[in-house]
Symmetry: C2
Subunit: 139 residues, 2 copies
């Protein structure tokens, strides 16, 4: 019970994970699309998704070689409330607006193309959102 709540709060305490949740408002996404959105390595993205899944903030389904993530179809009241709170807090943020634009572009592309580019090390075709706080370290 407490563990469930803390899992959710922990999952929501990272901006990349809240970005995924907000993106899923528009429907389910496959991992390569989320990789493209976050502009992170696939392994890192996968870790974030597993944390969201553990908190039951997303559903996951496998179809062929692709994993699709979506908002939970039957959330518990606590999860439902957490998602409502998150959307309420972040839906108007400039980060979300930027992501919505970027996502529209991503959805126009063939997911297979995205994956190909990602394995070719060109992780990030889009500029880092301007208000992203320390999105990526430059060593």
């Amino acid at each position: 019970m407490i563990r469930d709540f803390l899992d959710i709060a922990t999952a929501l305490s990272d901006m990349n994970r809240t970005r995924v949740l907000l993106a899923l408002r528009h429907g389910e996404l496959c991992v390569c699309q989320i990789v493209e959105l976050l502009c992170l390595a696939p392994s890192t993205t996968s870790k974030h998704l597993s944390i969201l899944k553990r908190a039951e903030l997303v559903d996951a389904r496998k179809q062929a070689r692709w994993m699709y993530y979506a908002l939970p179809a039957n959330p518990t009241p606590i999860v439902q409330q957490a998602i409502a709170w998150t959307f309420n807090a972040l839906e108007q943020s400039s980060q979300t607006k930027d992501d919505d634009k970027l996502l529209a572009d991503i959805l126009k592309q063939n997911p297979a193309d995205l994956c190909r580019r990602q394995s070719g090390k060109v992780n990030c075709y889009s500029p880092v959102p301007e208000n992203a706080t320390k999105q990526k370290e430059m060593p």
Copy 2:
């Protein structure tokens, strides 16, 4: 905006901090009472309180030598929603029930006595709640 949200989610992702929030349902508490409840060092407790304060999940007021913490009198809608979610999720938990009992005992005592005992290294007069997950490390 996002920063505010992440501050709140981070503040809520630690059990000791949620315990403080739940305890404050019963009214404001001074630091020594919270130290007694959590059974942590005053410095650690103070850090937790500063994180709650930064997230605007608590108000702080100083009276004479004591600091009193309370639920926010005028929370923003997002903070209000976060607190409602937290109470909804945790109010029925056994941890909260245990803390409510313990708090009733603490409130019967003179806060000055609590502070005296705390400076005398006898931090914890009460047993650690039985379902506390890894409340304290033993080296």
